[in-house]
Each structure stands twice: as structure tokens, then as C-alpha cells.
């Protein structure tokens, strides 16, 4: 039977977010969480943030310490181990710690650090929304963004490689009844 508790959804969600993201929840609980995320804005934000963090971690490059470096460290350690012990040990520990944490991060991302097809689809959808608002902001200004930025004042850096025509002056439109002015 599902543990979905409508009376206390958000606490219930908080407790299960991590195992859910790790794919460790039973299907019925995962479905209940999905329903809750659809309905609850606060938890939807939490979920998106957690996904973003998870995706970021998965995007980390394969950690590696070149063999030559390990060789140098081994060489330096062997003959003078006693005399260099405290400081070198600290250096080696720092390196080992770095590798260990990086390995843990990589491990968290699984053997394949690439985002899943679903994550790419989600990112593409988010990009679409973002571009939709960029376009809407341009329309609100009375121009499409490209045309506005093709104006004389910013033409030089943009036209490199774009071959745009200079057709619009810099837009600074204010209605007659607006008294506010900005420099």
C-alpha cells in the first residue's frame, strides 16, 4: 500500500527526495511523489534544484591523476620517507583526499556521467522556455532581439561573422505622458 499521505505531503516529500532521485523508491511511492510535485510548487522547486545539483555532479569530468605524477610522488616518498614524513604525508593525504572525493562524486554519477535522454529533453524544454521569454522581452521592446542588437551602437562586435545590416537606431522609446528619465 502506498505511503502517500495527503495531510502531510511536503514533509513526506522531503524525507524521500534523495532516495527518489537515486531511484531507490518503490514504484508506487515514486508515482505518488511525481503527483505531489505536479501539485506543489514548493516541492517542485526543491525537486528541480536537487535535479540540477545531481546533473551538475554527473557532469564532472572523469577524475584522473596522471601516472607520471603518481610516479613522481612515489619516487619522492620512497627514499626519504622518514625525513619528509609529516609534510609529505600531508601533501599525499591532500592528493588522496582529492582523488577520493572526486571518485565519490564520479561514483554518484554512475559509470556513465552523461545526462540521460530525459534530462536532456528537460534541459531542451527549459531552454525553449528561456528563449521564449527572451523573444517576448524583445517583442515587448517593439523589436526582435536580433534587430535591436543590430543597432548602430553595438554593430561592430556583432557583425563579425553575422553579416547583419544596420537598419535600426538604438531604441529609446518613451511615451509622452512618461516623465521619468534615466541617463
Amino acid at each position: 500500500m502506498s505511503e502517500y499521505r495527503p495531510a502531510n505531503n511536503c514533509d513526506w516529500f522531503d524525507e524521500r527526495l534523495e532516495p527518489w532521485l537515486d531511484g531507490e523508491l518503490p514504484a508506487d511511492q515514486a508515482e505518488a511523489l511525481e503527483r505531489h510535485v505536479d501539485e506543489c510548487r514548493r516541492c517542485r522547486e526543491q525537486y528541480r534544484l536537487a535535479r540540477r545539483i545531481q546533473t551538475g555532479l554527473r557532469g564532472l569530468e572523469q577524475p584522473s591523476c596522471p601516472d607520471s605524477v603518481i610516479g613522481i610522488l612515489a619516487e619522492r616518498t620512497r627514499p626519504r620517507r622518514r625525513r619528509l614524513a609529516p609534510a609529505l604525508a600531508a601533501g599525499l593525504m591532500a592528493g588522496a583526499l582529492g582523488l577520493g572525493v572526486a571518485w565519490q562524486m564520479q561514483r554518484a554519477g554512475g559509470p556513465d556521467a552523461q545526462p540521460s535522454r530525459a534530462e536532456l529533453a528537460e534541459a531542451r524544454a527549459e531552454l525553449g522556455v528561456a528563449l521564449g521569454y527572451v523573444s517576448a522581452a524583445g517583442r515587448a521592446a517593439g523589436r526582435d532581439v536580433g534587430s535591436v542588437l543590430a543597432s548602430e551602437g553595438v554593430m561592430r562586435p556583432i557583425r563579425r561573422g553575422l553579416d547583419l545590416e544596420v537598419t535600426f537606431p538604438v531604441l529609446d522609446r518613451e511615451s509622452h505622458d512618461t516623465v521619468e528619465s534615466e541617463t
Binding site: R48, T55, G56, G59, L60, E61, P63, C65, P66, V69, I72, R76, R80, R83, L84, A87, L88, A90, G91, A94, G95, G98, A102, M105, E119, L120, A123, R124, E126, L127, G128, A130, L131, G132, Y133, V134, S135, A136, A137, G138, R139, A140, G142, D144, V145, G146, V148, L149, A150, S151, V154, R156, P157, I158, L162, V170, L171, R173, E182, T183
Partner: protein, 184 residues
């Protein structure tokens, strides 16, 4: 003395080769980019979470570019130059309008002071549109757009990276996502 030098060298080598893998959180490095804009704590200003929030960047954009390269080279090219894109849309409540206008005005002033180039300014009724661009040499470093849509919405957009502005609107049409800002 020699031993001390060797010890320091060993530590530096370990840090140089093994440390960078830990410092790849792209969001941490974002504020140092010339095209980045810190709009401040908007959620505190408006007293609620944004109704639309998009924050894309880092490895995901790289993967998206690669995934699109064959099917949509134009999108891939745009994404190649994109460092990050953030969109925050807030619903304006009755008491928010004056504060929102003030914040937008202050931000516009600050961007001007920071050598952002104003490309659009619209004041119509209660609506405000500010569009700025930052260049870094011959390259575009970022775009900043702030829109107050009458008494309904406040939109804050930051595009970080060398992105062809002409491609932005074109690609928006291709995605088929349209957003309406209720200006009046």
C-alpha cells in the same frame, strides 16, 4: 632546506593535478564571467518564489549542444557560445510594483555604471523594458533584459556567453514556445 622544497613541490603537484576535479561547479564560477548579472535577492523583494525559473549552464549545455549538433546545427552553434542562461519571472502583487520599478531602475543604473551598453529602454505607462549588452573585446559577453509587464509580471533574464543575438529569437520560434508579457 632541500627536503622542505621537495615537500612543497610534492604538495603543489598533488594539488595541481588532483585538485581541479573538485572545483568544477560551474555555478560557482559564473559570477566571475563578464556577462553575468547579479539581480540581487528577487525572491525576497517579491516575497515569493518565481513563477518561472530557468537556470541552464555548465556541462548540461555542452551535452545539449553535442546532442543537437547533427539534428540542429544552428542550435548547437548557439549553445557552443552559451555559458549560462537564467530566466526568473515573478508575478507582481499590488504592493510590489513600486519596489519592482525601483529595483529595475537601480539595476539599470548599475549596469550602465559597469559598462553595460544600453540597447533598449522603454517606459510606457506602468511598463518598463531595459535591454543591455556587455562586450568583451570583439565578443559578446552577455545580455541582460528586465521587463516589468504593467501590473502583472516582472521578468529578469541574463544570457551569459558569446551568443549570436540574431539566433536567439530565431531559435525561440523554432522551439515553438511563446511567452506573453502583458504590457500595457
Amino acid at each position: 632546506m632541500k627536503h622542505l622544497t621537495e615537500t612543497i613541490m610534492a604538495t603543489i603537484l598533488a594539488a595541481l593535478f588532483c585538485g581541479p576535479v573538485l572545483a568544477q561547479d560551474w555555478m560557482e564560477g559564473l559570477p566571475s564571467k563578464p556577462g553575468y548579472v547579479d539581480f540581487g535577492n528577487l525572491t525576497q523583494l517579491f516575497g515569493e518564489e518565481p513563477k518561472v525559473e530557468v537556470m541552464l549552464g555548465g556541462p548540461l549545455v555542452t551535452f545539449l549542444a553535442e546532442a543537437s549538433r547533427e539534428e540542429d546545427p544552428e542550435l548547437a552553434k548557439m549553445l557552443d557560445g552559451l555559458t549560462a542562461i537564467s530566466v526568473n519571472v515573478y508575478e507582481l502583487e499590488e504592493g510590489d510594483r513600486e519596489a519592482a520599478r525601483e529595483r529595475v531602475s537601480t539595476l539599470a543604473q548599475r549596469l550602465g555604471d559597469e559598462q553595460w551598453q544600453r540597447t533598449v529602454k522603454v517606459n510606457e505607462g506602468d511598463s518598463r523594458v531595459h535591454m543591455f549588452m556587455k562586450t568583451d573585446g570583439d565578443q559578446i559577453a552577455g545580455l541582460a533584459l528586465m521587463v516589468l509587464g504593467g501590473d502583472t509580471e516582472a521578468v529578469f533574464i541574463n544570457v551569459v556567453g558569446d551568443v549570436d543575438p540574431a539566433a536567439l529569437g530565431k531559435l525561440a520560434g523554432k522551439f515553438g514556445v511563446s511567452a506573453d508579457l502583458n504590457l500595457r
